[in-house]
Symmetry: C2
Subunit: 144 residues, 2 copies
């Protein structure tokens, strides 16, 4: 298997709320709904998905949890706040602070205020409306 | 916020098991443990994390759920099988079938055998040992 990822899909419980948060709150302007014409039923997943083009790498999708369960053939689970984290690197400590403040103003819950971590980064965390963690980080070893 | 992702971290309940699955099972040869020298405690997260370099885009990390909870400042949740899905595109229907078979041979549970989806792709799903979904897909509209 080639070490590649093409899509990251986050399960959400309210697609419109998630769209508003990512598009209007965080400012991911490319966010759009695709597949809304495909109606699901009890066993077949509906098509409506929010697709967000990223500048590099994979596409970010937001998809209803109920439909992901049907599409993947697994039982729907209760949400978990400790299943994943998405890391977003910026160019300075000040940029970490600013972005966390911006996310908070957009309705995100900041779960951990920025501070130095023992592995050499400065970061803080926020959660999206569905409890998906984002870590905003400055890593001196990376070019943001 | 720039539409970029630099890291995807998946929470796992057994770091060694996850390392073996991704490195030896799926064949992500770059997988290595970093940060093992940083010991945590009741409130501070330990450093050991599996880091996997991908060919394009973000770094994939595997990190203990207990440590993610401490690092992010959120309560540890029970695992959820419907929190996310990672999409991996290949070049043909036959490649989807082959890769699902390979993942199954490596110990993955195939949750949905490959079939055509109404939105124009051919795909199937497997779960890693921690219940994280991977969708292996052929999308005629994409170059794999």
């Amino acid at each position: 298997m080639k070490p590649r990822i093409h899509v990251i899909t986050l399960a959400v419980d309210d697609l419109e709320r998630a769209l508003r948060f990512y598009r209007d709150g965080l400012g991911f302007a490319s966010a759009r709904v695709l597949g809304a014409q495909i109606a699901g039923d009890e066993t077949h997943a509906a098509g409506a998905v929010v697709v967000i083009e990223l500048e590099r790498g994979p596409v970010l999708c937001l998809y209803p949890r109920s439909e992901l369960a049907k599409d993947a053939g697994v039982p729907r689970s209760a949400p978990s706040r400790t299943e994943l984290s998405i890391g977003h690197a910026v160019e300075s400590r000040a940029a970490v602070d600013a972005l966390l403040a911006e996310a908070e103003a957009a309705g995100a819950r900041v779960t951990d205020r920025p501070h130095e971590r023992p592995w050499g980064i400065y970061s803080g965390y926020f959660e999206d409306p569905d409890g998906h963690l984002w870590e905003v980080l400055w890593n001196p070893a990376l070019t943001a």
